[in-house]
Subunit: 126 residues, 2 copies
DNA sequence: CGGTATCCCATTTGATACTG
DNA sequence: CAGTATCAAATGGGATACCG
């Protein structure tokens, strides 16, 4: 059986950039799992994220309807992010990835280490 | 309840670059679902992939123990890629992403379109 | 507090041409 | 057939400083 040339339609996840595979979106979703969070709160577990990148991430998520952004008109300002139903629907996926990693990351890392020295593209070693 | 600063350990999927979120790996896995495939076979459904990028993708997958590469010493050459058990274990994840997209991509795209005109970072419109 | 504004770098992806 | 080689473009992510 040969592969279908139209196996991957044009709206494939890889064509339409649905940003779950980026560096921070998955972690942001998990941060919001327990309820609404402020910008500053998110920066705590997301230790290495810069404000610029966190803003970009949240704006993209807001644009895609994964989170809502609510700015309370107070002083000092208070901005709260919350998962939408759409965003919440991604939690099982995030968790599935996490579970896979827990179960298989060791094997993957071992495989990666094994292929350190040997780089012969030659016909399989005997 | 405040967020745990150590919520994301250093071996988090985002820290150790496990390449499933890249452009082609997921699709390659699905191409190999039905059994071993040759390099040229993979290029058919993966229409827009260049040989260079497909090679890079396959090499990375091989290094991580997701596929095996078997070069038969014939003329013309014949090279066959096959999913390992580790790689096969990713199929449920890939499928879950696919299912999510089938069910929610429309909603996401609509949300994205809605946020086209309006870019006010202002306190929620009345 | 919740961001912006710049500037910069690394990685990823692609176009094109060529080869054992 | 199954790749390499070379070059270029795009994207993502980050460092640093500043602002209402």
């Amino acid at each position: 059986m040969s592969l279908d040339p139209d196996m991957f339609p044009s709206y494939c996840p890889s064509s339409v950039p649905v940003r779950i595979g980026d560096k921070w979106t998955g972690m942001v979703i998990r941060c919001l799992e327990g309820g609404p969070r402020r910008f500053g709160e998110l920066r705590v577990p997301l230790r290495r994220v810069t404000p610029k990148v966190l803003t970009e991430t949240l704006r993209a998520m807001e644009r895609d309807g994964l989170v809502t952004r609510t700015a309370h008109d107070e002083n000092p300002p208070r901005v709260v992010y919350e998962l939408t139903g759409l965003g919440r629907g991604l939690l099982p996926l995030i968790d599935a990835v996490g579970t896979w990693c827990e179960n298989n990351l060791d094997a993957l890392l071992r495989a990666r280490e094994r292929h350190q020295g040997l780089r012969p593209t030659a016909p399989a070693m005997q």
